[in-house]
Structure formats: C-alpha cells, structure tokens
Amino acid sequence: MTGTLDLQGVKITLGDRTLVDLTLAIPAGQIVTIMGPSGAGKSTALAAITGTLAPSFGMSGRILMNGKDISDLPTRARNIGLLFQDAVLFPHLSVGQNLAFALPAPIRGRAQRQARVDDALASAGLTGFAPRDPATLSGGQKARVALLRTLLAEPCALLLDEPFSRLDADLRAQIRSFVFDRAAQAGIPTLLVTHDIEDARAAAGPVVDTFGNPLPL
C-alpha cells in the first residue's frame, strides 16, 4: 500500500492561461499542502490527479503512483481517494451502506463486510451508526464518515479538497487532527488543497503554490 505520488511536470492550461505547473514527489506518510486564493486552480490540480478534469482544460505531464503511470487510467482504476468540502454522502443509502459501497469487492460475505463497516465506525467513535440516515448526522459526524468511506476503499493516495472549510471553527481543529492522524496511520501520500493557513500549519509538511514554489508560513 505504501508508495510515492509523483507529479512530473503536470501543467494544466485553460485557453492560453497556465493554471497549474507542478513537479512534486509526495512520499508515503507525508502531507503536502497546495495553498492559494480561490480561483487559483488548486481544485483543478486535484481533478487532474483523479482524472476528472473537464475537457475544456489542456493537460500535459505525467502522474505516477508508486512508479506506475496512471495518467491515462479512468478515475475508478487510479485508486486515488478524494475528500470534498462537503461530505457528499450518498443520501439514499444508510451510513453503513455508504461505507460498504466503498469497501473493495474482493472482501466477500455479508458478515465480513458488515464487520469491517462496524469496526471502521467504532474506530471513529460512531458505534451503532450503521443503520442511520446520513441526513440525521451532525457536521462533524458526516465529515468523519466521509473520511472513513474514502479510506475503506484502500486508496494508494489521499487528496483533500478544502475538507475543513465548511466546518465550524471549534470542530475544525478536531476533524483536522482526525483526518491527519488517519492519513498517517494509513501510511499513504496525502495532498491537501486549502486557502486556510491554519490547515497548512497543522499539516506540518511542505507548502507550495500551484506552480510548485515553496511558500513561507
């Protein structure tokens, strides 16, 4: 599961404007932060890595995961986890069904899958939440379920798209440390995109802009 997320000259253009030009290697267990104001193309960089870039953008360069070129793979084959600003839980599935959706198919048997889901919930202090309607969860609970769901898919790398910006100030620090701890536990490279300098400080890793220039904190 451990490996390096390697961006080699990833350049994204819109018309004649260059939004992103990144050469970065994120080793397993490290968190790199891309900072910048809104509209700077931070989320566009993440879309390029997940393979969901809109066709109007131009892109060059290669994306390697653990030495393997994934630039031309479809999103589902890249094995890159993503957290949005909102939890984006599937509203028609229960909390447990949301998590089971992410669990890899080779984990077979209803009982075994249910056990994995229950374990994950218990590890986040959400024991007994499996049958709950996601709409009845608090903001912090939703954020935790969203991260659990992303990690249950056993991704090789984790992308965080301003995942704390919608949370209340008192909740933010708590969820931030929850996410960073889990990412460290999973031992995978993590790329955080944010406009909040507190997020960048808490990530305690290198901080760059969308052109890869180091930013002082």
Partner: protein, 560 residues
C-alpha cells in the same frame, strides 16, 4: 455494461433516439406528399373545389392562434402578478392536475357543462331561464369555434404554466424581479421588462408546440368544434375514413396544406416575437413604473384562470356524476338517484379497452424511458454537450402537425402489414411520448450532483455501478414522474391510435371520441372517468412510491 462495449452502445443512443424521432416524421410527410402530388397534383384541384376550404382553413388558424395567445398571456400574467405569493401556490395546485387530463376527456367534460342540456343550463333552469326543455341553441359546436378555443385554453394553460415554472429558476427570476421591485417598478412592468425576454427564450419551443397542436387538434375539435365546415384537420380525418381512393388523395393534399398553414402561422408568430422584443426594450428605456397595472391585471388573471380551470374541473365532475347517474331529467341539477348499474353493464367492454390502453401506454413509456436514460447517461458519461439543433429535432414530432405526417405513416404501416397491431400503435405513441419523457427527466438528471459520481469513482466504482446503484435510485422520484407523464401522453393520443390502429385498436380515447356523437352520457362518463383515472393513478404512484421508499432518508424527500 462494462468497458469499451458499453461506451460504444451509449455513443449510439443519442443519434438512434433522434433518428427514431425524425425518421417517422419525415417518412410520414413523404408518404403524405406522394398521393397528394400524383397525377399532376390533381388532388389539390379537387381540394380547391371544396366550398368549405376557406372557412375550414380560417377556423384552424383562428382557433389555434387565439387559444395560444390567450393561454400564453394568462400564463405570463399569472407569473407576473402572483409569483412568490400564497395565491400562486393555490393557482398551481388548481391547475397542475389538469395537465394529466386527456384532451378528449377535457372536451367531453366541457361539452357537458356548456351544452344546451348541460350543467350550466340545468343550474339556471327553470327558475331563471324558464326552460323546461333544452333550448335549441348552438352553444356547442358553435360556428366560430369559441367552445373549441375555450377547451384548448383550459388544456394548454397548465402545460405552458408548468414549462414556465421549470424555466424560472434557470433565469434567476427571483433576483431579477426583486431588483425591478426595489427600483420602484410594478409587478407586471417589472416582470415584462426584466424577466419576460429571458423566460420566453426558455419556453419558445413549448409555445410553438402549443400553436401547432392548437391549429391541428382533431379529437377536441370533433367534440367541441364547428361542423359545417369543421376545422381543416377534422375534415382531413373525415376524408381519410372514406373508402374512396380519391378522397384519400384529397385528404393528403389537405394535410400538406395544413402543414403549410402551420408553418405560416409559426413564421407570423416569430415576426411577432421580434416585434414584441423590440417593443419591450424600447419601453424599458422610458422607465415607466406602471404600478397601476398590477391590481387590474391580477384580477383579470385570477378571473380568467378560475373560469377556464373551474369550467374544466366542473365539467369533469359532471361526467363522473353521469357515469353513476340513474334517472337525470332536464332541468334537474342533480340526478334523481345514483347507481352502479352503468358501470356493471359496461364493465366487460371497459375492462378490455382499459387493458389495451394500459399495455400500449406502458410499452411506449418504458421504451421512451430506456432511450431517454441511455441518451442522458451518454451525455453525462461521454461529456457530450446537447445542441439546440438536437433539442429542435426532439421537438419535431410536436411541431409538425400529427395530421400532416400520420396519414403518410398509415400508408406505410398499411403497405408493410403492421397497421392494426397494438405494437404498431405503441410504436407510433413512442414518437409523441418520448419528447415529453425526455423533457421531464432531463432537468433532474442533469442537476444531479456530479461530485457523487466523482466520489464513487475514486472508490473504484465503475460507470455502470454508479448508474445503477447511485444515480438511478437517487432519481427514483423524477423517473416515476417522467413515466406518469409518458402514460398521460399515451392515454391522450387519438389520431395515432385511430390511423395506425386502422380503427381496430380501441383505446379509452378513441372509444370516448367515437361515443361523443351519440347521446349516451352515462357511457361517455364512464370512459372519461377511466381516461382520467389512468394518468391520475400514475401521478399518484409517482408521488407516493418515492415517499414510501425513502421514508427513512430525510435528504431524499422533497427531491423530485
């Protein structure tokens, strides 16, 4: 549905669907043109000799234009005067259910209400009118087509209003209207100057469809319209029913003329649109606030809506009452006794016809749903951008008059031997059901949160899994609504059923229209009630099932 195979199939869905829309229309038009133009277009000479021609053509133009102008004006007035007020939601609740009423049932209801022996005459007799017997007045089938126009307005108003309501959020109407109001504009002037141009651009195609439909409607015109001569489209169908080949050629020539008339009316309408737009822009420059317009306009809109929607509702209630009426003599306002005997007698025939109608409607609707979902999924998955041209092609069966291309299609169906089969009728219904199913589902499908798909894809879910497990279940409510719309459209089809069915496929609508010339109001009432019940049940299911299914999912309720 995995990998390259599914992509290949999906890529074919949009062109296949558009072809299924356009091909029958074009083939039908060609099939109509052939008999009309043979022998040096002799059929046109015969047509020109028919003394009723000028009047029949004028009736088609007059009733079509009048009903379109009035229903569009009413729609816009209702929105301008009441958008955002409690009255608006009340009007909406009164009008929306009328959308699912088939045209024939609406016409039969109105006919019973306003006929000399109808409910209004009964309510006013004998104490006010002194009538002991139905008066000898030509209210129904009046020579100017007034009752036909009223019927068309009552049916087209709900359609245009719902199309406009769907368009309002897309043009940011709330903030436009609020801006105009803070600048001191009256509601009507503010709406006309700031919102109308953008709104009209969104509902232009539906308006064209209403105009083309109003000019060429046959079932409603047979029940409510003038008779000597009837509207041009009605006369075409009467000629089609004749055995003689010559009259069929005349019918074909008249169908081409009808098509040209519709094109001319659409051209005229387009010119009026341009003039109206310039006028609005010129008026905006003068900054007249016109707040004085608001109260009279609101009153007028309210009264006109109550009259049209109220008369339709009352008429339908009257029909339902007839279906269970025992003795009901003129001028009694209510039947002397109620009985289920009418239903019991008619049940065997009614049951068969009901089943045929349901099977045809379900077949056409399911086919339309599958094609629509394939198109929309192709659009989402292959990131296709729908063009205006594709949308116009989708509207083609609604813009080209049915009476212009169905005769040709019937000729083709007859020569290939599929005429008279229920499957052929269902295929013909599909041409008219698909545009409505697509229009009903496209908005919610495209508005679905794409981050859910991205999110699932990053977890390794395939496109097929995302579609079947996430997108489709989440869209359950709009999918069922689209199905209800499809069923309502299919149940209401008269001309395709009559012509492609070769008179041998009997649905609730063809039977109700066939009965309308006879005097058996009890039986007409029973058919009309079933015509109403089928779409109403479909819409009720579309509301109830998702609510039941998602009763434990708060975020899924209110999604429709």
């Amino acid at each position: 549905m995995t990998g390259a195979g599914s992509r290949g199939w999906l890529r074919l869905a949009p062109p296949l669907t558009l072809g299924l829309m356009a091909a029958p229309v074009l083939a039908g038009l060609a099939g109509t043109a052939m008999p009309a133009l043979r022998d040096g277009a002799a059929a046109f000479a015969t047509l020109a000799e028919w003394p009723g021609l000028p009047r029949a053509a004028a009736l088609s133009l007059g009733t079509g234009l009048a009903s379109t102008i009035i229903s569009l004006t009413l729609t816009l007035l209702i929105i301008a005067a009441f958008a955002g007020t409690p009255t608006f939601s009340r009007i909406r609740r009164l009008i929306a259910p009328l959308l699912s009423v088939p045209h024939a049932a609406a016409a039969l209801g109105l006919a019973f209400l306003i006929a000399p022996s109808g409910w209004i005459a009964r309510a006013l007799s004998p104490w006010l009118t002194g009538w002991d017997q139905p008066p000898n007045l030509l209210i129904l089938n009046d020579p100017y087509g007034l009752s036909l126009t009223l019927g068309l307005i009552a049916k087209e108003l709900p359609f245009l209003l719902l199309m406009a309501l769907a368009a309002l959020p897309q043009i940011d109407a709330d903030r436009r209207l609020a801006t105009a109001a803070t600048l001191g504009y009256g509601r009507i002037a503010g709406f006309a100057l700031t919102t109308l141009p953008a709104l009209y651009a969104q509902i232009r195609l539906p308006v064209y469809a209403v105009l083309a439909y109003g000019m060429t409607v046959v079932d409603m015109a047979m029940i409510l319209g003038p008779t000597l001569p009837p509207t041009l489209s009605t006369q075409i169908v009467l000629w089609m029913a004749e055995a003689s080949l010559m009259q069929r050629d005349t019918a074909a020539a008249a169908a081409l003329l009808q098509c040209a008339l519709v094109l001319a009316a659409l051209g005229l309408w387009r010119l009026a649109e341009i003039a109206g737009r310039r006028l609005l822009i010129a008026m905006a420059f003068h900054g007249q606030r016109r707040a004085g317009l608001d109260r009279p306009a609101a009153a007028a809109a309210l009264i006109a809506t109550l009259v049209t929607a109220g008369s339709l509702t009352l008429g339908l209630a009257g029909l339902a009452l007839w279906s269970v009426a025992g003795l009901w003599q003129f001028p009694d306002a209510l039947p002397a006794q109620l009985t289920l005997r009418n239903w019991a007698t008619a049940l065997p025939t009614l049951g068969t016809t009901f089943t045929t109608t349901l099977v045809i409607a379900a077949t056409a609707t399911l086919a339309a749903l599958a094609l629509t979902l394939a198109c929309l999924q192709a659009e989402a998955q292959l990131r296709l951008t729908p063009t205006t041209r594709a949308l116009t092609l989708l509207y083609l069966p609604l813009l080209v008059p049915q009476v212009a291309f169905l005769p040709g299609l019937q000729f083709l169906a007859f020569s290939t031997g599929i005429e008279g089969h229920a499957a052929a009728v269902a295929a013909a219904h599909l041409i008219f059901v698909l545009p409505y199913v697509f229009l009903s589902l496209a908005g919610p499908f495209r508005a679905w949160d794409a981050r859910i798909a991205t999110s699932a894809a990053t977890m390794g879910a395939s496109e097929a899994r995302i579609f079947w497990r996430l997108r489709l279940p989440m869209l359950l409510a709009p999918v069922l609504t689209a199905c209800a719309v499809g069923i309502a459209v299919s149940v209401g089809q008269y001309l395709p059923t009559l012509l492609i069915g070769g008179g041998r496929v009997e649905t609730l609508t063809t039977e109700a229209v066939a009965l309308s010339s006879g005097g058996n109001r009890r039986l007409i009432g029973a058919y009309a009630v079933l015509q109403l019940a089928l779409p109403a049940l479909a819409f009720a299911a579309a509301l109830a099932l998702p609510a039941l299914w998602w009763r434990n999912r708060r975020a899924m309720r209110g999604l429709a």
